[in-house]
């Protein structure tokens, strides 16, 4: 095994570029998944089965099929339908959509975890439906699910390398490009592997600490 520190030095500027793209994709993807997941979770609680059933089927489908193939689908099929997005936008949308089907379950568990007395109190106080949700149920539900959502953000971080497959130059994309130009595979791949551990391990410790504080 021969390790070449100068290759690490040469790779570092590309690494920082890649890290920036990875973090951008992560933040935007998380925001989409948080918002869309809440929409799914609320739609699943509507009384009409004509809403619940299609939403349930679609989200189940998205959750049980590979993100990679969904990326290809969006990347190659949307232009055929006349909607051309940049690779990065496609990737962010795909990650956000994929993970919204997970965050939806988290929200659902959080909403179901709100004690029935809270609902009854809102009814007794004659609160309108929107106020019941925004002032009583969601603030309690979301507080409980913050750590679970955070765990999905960590999962999303570990899925961002897939964006490389649709030409986004995030960390793995940069590493691959660098390797192919310089014929040095060991250093860049190891650097980004270690970088992922260095980011995700403290993040998961943080989530565990949050869980102890917020979820009782």
């Amino acid at each position: 095994m021969n390790w070449d520190w100068s290759a690490v030095g040469d790779f570092m500027p590309h690494f920082w570029d890649g890290l920036l793209i990875t973090l951008q994709a992560l933040v935007l993807g998380s925001l989409i998944s948080f918002a869309l997941g809440l929409v799914w979770a609320l739609l699943m609680r509507t009384p009409s089965r004509w809403v619940r059933w299609p939403v349930g089927v679609v989200t189940e489908f998205v959750r049980n099929t590979p993100l990679l193939v969904q990326l290809f689908f969006l990347f190659y099929v949307l232009p055929e339908w006349g909607l051309t997005l940049s690779a990065m936008t496609t990737g962010v949308v795909a990650i956000g959509l994929h993970y919204s089907t997970y965050t939806m379950q988290v929200y659902r568990a959080g909403i179901e975890g709100v004690p029935a007395g809270q609902w009854e109190a809102a009814t007794a106080l004659n609160l309108p439906v929107t106020r019941t949700w925004t002032a009583v149920i969601l603030p309690q539900a979301i507080r409980r699910v913050v750590p679970a959502l955070g765990n999905y953000v960590i999962s999303m971080l570990k899925d961002t390398p897939m964006l490389m497959a649709i030409t986004v130059l995030e960390m793995l994309g940069e590493a691959r490009l660098f390797s192919q130009q310089n014929f040095q595979f060991t250093e860049p791949l190891t650097v980004i592997g270690v970088a992922f551990i260095l980011i995700s391990y403290p993040a998961s410790l943080l989530m565990r600490a949050l869980e102890r504080r917020l979820v009782r």
């Binding site: 959750r63 049980n64 290809f72 993970y99 997970y102 179901e112 060991t186 551990i197």
Partner: protein, 239 residues
């Protein structure tokens, strides 16, 4: 789509299924070894097992795959057949997630059960085999079922390395037909059907195992959602 192209897709399904079975077996072996090691009485064994879990859960499965394909051959001087390289990368990564499931289920067994084993002067191995595992394994099945679906989704990653699995066959058909909506819809549907069958299979297994220890499967999963450890970052998702 012509029959020749369908043949390509069938080959892809076969490769995906092979990869799923092999890496699933490796992941199960790793899960139990590492998960049980994490409950060992020696601190050093617990530490090493925990270190393994954190390292393999910390990185992305795709990076592991790249590592096994590109770094391992020059570093150690041997090259793996793509199928085995994919199996190794996926099995080790998903095994790390599985080890958390095993550890959680072992921890969840009532401590009085182990004390009972001690009182009857069972050896540690007998306690594990006759008391802990029969009660813990049925509890592991629902999270393992989720992990198996994640593993199925993870197998698509090997297509990035040019291995001819289902996702790769989709790309080939797209290049051949210059048209992508139809083939990718089929590919997604096939993955969905495989995932559905896996879930069914695991549910049947859960029923049988729980009947063996005199319990019935819980109907709801809602409360478990919040408490499950971490998800498989590799394919995301519910572990």
């Amino acid at each position: 789509m012509t029959s020749g192209l369908w043949e390509l897709v069938l080959k892809g399904i076969w490769t995906t299924v092979q990869l799923l079975v092999l890496s699933g077996l490796l992941a199960a072996a790793v899960s139990f070894t590492v998960g049980i090691a994490r409950t060992h009485r020696l601190r050093i064994v617990r530490f090493l097992a925990g270190f393994y879990t954190e390292v393999f859960r910390g990185t992305s499965a795709l990076i592991m795959i790249f590592w096994v394909f590109f770094v391992l051959p020059p570093a150690f001087g041997w090259q793996l057949v793509p199928l085995w390289a994919g199996t190794l990368a996926l099995g080790l990564t998903y095994g790390a997630y599985g080890s958390e499931i095993v550890r959680g289920a072992l921890d969840a067994v009532d401590p009085a059960q182990v004390e009972g084993g001690v009182a009857l002067s069972f050896t540690p191995w007998q306690r594990l085999r006759l008391i802990l595992l029969p009660q813990a394994v049925p509890e592991m099945i629902p999270p393992f079922s989720n992990l198996l679906v994640e593993l199925l989704k993870g197998t698509a990653l090997v297509s990035v390395m040019g291995m001819g699995d289902l996702a790769f066959s989709g790309n080939l058909v797209r290049l051949a037909l210059q048209e992508s909506a139809e083939i990718y819809t089929y590919i997604l549907l096939i993955y969905f059907v495989i995932a559905f069958l896996l879930t069914r299979l695991m549910r049947g297994l859960e029923k049988r195992l729980k009947a063996g220890v005199g319990r019935v499967p819980e109907p709801g999963v809602s409360q478990r959602e919040l408490r499950r450890p971490e998800t498989t970052g590799v394919g995301g998702g519910a572990a």
